[in-house]
Symmetry: C2
Subunit: 214 residues, 2 copies
Amino acid sequence: MSKSEHQLAKEHARNKKIIDTAFKVFVEKKIEAVSMGEIAQAAGIGRATLFRCYAGKTELVIAVCAAKWKEYLDELDERRPISSVGDIPAIGRFIFTLDSYIDMYRNHKELLVYNDNFNYYVTHEGVSDDELKEFRASLISADTRFDMMYEKAKEDKTFRTDIPQDEFMRVTVHTMMAACTHYAGGFIWGAEWNKDYTPELLLLKEMILNYVKC
Amino acid sequence: MSKSEHQLAKEHARNKKIIDTAFKVFVEKKIEAVSMGEIAQAAGIGRATLFRCYAGKTELVIAVCAAKWKEYLDELDERRPISSVGDIPAIGRFIFTLDSYIDMYRNHKELLVYNDNFNYYVTHEGVSDDELKEFRASLISADTRFDMMYEKAKEDKTFRTDIPQDEFMRVTVHTMMAACTHYAGGFIWGAEWNKDYTPELLLLKEMILNYVKC
């Protein structure tokens, strides 16, 4: 017997409530310091119900990461559908990518903070590749774009392709992400609290662009 | 009545044991997830003794950060005493600074990881400037060097000084530190586990040097 629409909608709403609550609590307190009981309480559901949805904390942590990245990437996809990028020069796509991290710093600091904590958590918990499958799936649109962009650059030569793709992406895009995460974290040595670091990120963007332009 | 030398040596050893143990446990589990009781147990002392040394977790967290940075900076100072830098061109000092972060990535990953967690923790606990005084003192040698370096560059013009000093340091040195922290954290999306990211950091160094050279 299949579930009624009403039942499915109810489950969907409950699941969204769990993910959103867990995200908020994980960001505030760090993943390591949060128990499943705490999440259940904050979401207003029973501990047993939470465990029926997610077998353990690791499953929940991965599901939250996947859902939040997907939410963000869907928003990006809407702003620039993957079907529309064909005619944009590689460097234009590259600038769009750098800008999207600066935008994340300005409007989605929590995602940067969570992502950073997530990376550390999965490293130290020894999460298997298999368990990360769902997370991988949520990032497929970003990966596809990067591949397309690098291929395009080989043709139109609007940025250098003498550094292998993976390394190139880490030196440029990862550096931008790491800097955005650094500033999203809050306390920066030697600066006033809650300063806006957009000017620094724009200079970093300029630095990266100088470096990659042919 | 002053304490005997024996007594002082004993206190010093106990204090070092507390700091080293707390550092190790904080790095492994994240500061947020660790209680004072856990630290006391791991250090093999009573909870009351720990609280006699440090009034609370925040005090301990700051003391650990100050001690570990001091340890590291003293090591750097030995390699290049502050009295010897007078004749080195500003760009030489700048390169030494970038290299010292790469060295930290290679040999002191835990300090980068702790420092990152520390920044987040003090932001979210709302630690006052007054409480951070000890920490500031531990970084004085680094700050002095940066000031001296930037002043030197204004004279010898071996790197650009058109960007104000604070902003310049954040765009260059902070970016290098953020990237080193990113790679020290462990899990990097799309790469095999425990990869050595020194090649990426050397390219980043090149990128920064291209940008700052006059």
